[in-house]
Subunit: 223 residues, 2 copies
DNA sequence: CGAACCGTTATTGTATACAAATCGCTCCCG
DNA sequence: CGGGAGCGATTTGTATACAATAACGGTTCG
């Protein structure tokens, strides 16, 4: 991560997530170059990636703007993620070795540790959670699937910065993981898929309620 | 498409598809710049896109190679495409307007015309087919879904260059489209999903048989 | 005879200067 | 008073030169 384009990517991303930039605000490559502390060349490369991750968008005339995500956008991403990650869980159930299952157990133990502390360590929880899902996706052994999911998972994680997690949510996640591990140990693809499905769907609702409370039917379908 | 980076993308892509480059052959940015007739800067941008589309791959040390697709790779892509495009069909069934359904009918009429000629016009068929699927995906109204599918659909289309289609395959496709239109007209998401599923799965087998005839279990999982 | 080291060459990565395009403003004309 | 053409300023796109890094080959030492 020492290369200038990677550094640019990291810094710009951090900048966007910090909330310092308003949604739909225009950004110029020069500004970003200044923020990242490198020249425009690597910035352009970083911007490409961020566009791909939909954190930045381009106008029809190639000008850059901070993406603004509607509630529909978020729901869409969760839906796609669910579809793909259920598939990943199913495949993983067919392929996971004992050692890999053990690894999942270890990671989930760390995750539980992070929860059950005087004050839950959310950063640690998120990191363990990320690891867990990454292990499952890797085990699915489907490079494109992994690539697509990386994009979908990244983005919402980003938005979670501001979010506050309830203890119940965290504990339920840990239990979901336990059941997922059971499904893997039993080599039952259908079970794994089902558990992953409810796990992610619950996550979506819990997420949606804290971010865009109601949303109703008012703005959604009309446009 | 007059921008240098677009031109580079087109030319390099055409070059790769022409078969002039062997799979796993190394390519340098300079070579590609020469082929595209522009400097390395836009070439690098084009290469990024082609990497994303998996026509090019990078070694761990950033060297560039022509991708070589295993049969497993192809199966994986068809599977993902099926999953996503079934979802698109389902969504489209809920949202398509009468006018859009009419448009699909028009396109499929063109597609049939292309088949039923003294000698079937495959290029015309493929173009109409592409249009048809694109209309469905657009109607699903899910930008990320569209983006992902674009990548998955592009690549195999590429490999089809050498392929020869049987008249039966072409006609079956046309019938599938008709049934899909019927499902849309009836606003039946489940029906649409099911038809799309069998449509694509058949396409996969028909494709796989002409490309990598047997594949069996010999080379696949071991590596 | 083999293997590790070092210098050369090839290749990718970055900075900068310049070209093309777009934007926003003013000014002119209807 | 409104709309559009033109112009200066801003922004993106491309070429080129140079820096950093990785591959290659030869040589030397064990």
């Amino acid at each position: 991560m020492s290369r200038a384009s990677d550094q640019a990517y990291q810094k710009i991303r951090a900048y966007l997530l910090s909330g310092a930039a308003q949604p739909s605000e225009q950004l110029t490559e020069d500004q970003l170059a200044q923020i990242a502390g490198v020249s425009r060349t690597p910035v352009r490369e970083a911007v490409r990636r961020l566009e791909d991750e939909l954190l930045l968008v381009r106008s029809d005339t190639k000008r850059l703007f901070v993406a603004d995500w509607s509630r529909d956008d978020i729901e869409e991403m969760f839906t796609l993620r669910q579809m793909l990650e259920c598939h990943a869980a199913e495949r993983a159930a067919r392929r996971l070795s004992r050692a890999q299952v053990a690894q999942l157990e270890t990671v989930n133990r760390i995750l539980k540790d992070a929860i059950e502390r005087p004050v839950p360590d959310v950063a640690r929880f998120l990191e363990a959670n990320r690891s867990f899902h990454e292990l499952v996706i890797d085990a699915a052994h489907s490079p494109r699937l992994g690539q697509m999911l990386a994009k979908l998972v990244e983005a919402p994680v980003v938005l979670r910065t501001a979010r506050n997690y309830s203890l119940d949510d965290l504990r339920q996640s840990a239990r979901d993981h336990d059941e997922l591990i059971a499904a893997f140990a039993a080599r039952d693809p259908e079970w794994a898929r089902a558990v992953m499905g409810s796990h992610l769907r619950r996550a979506f609702h819990s997420f949606a309620n804290t971010v865009g409370p109601a949303a109703g039917e008012s703005t959604s379908e009309a446009a």
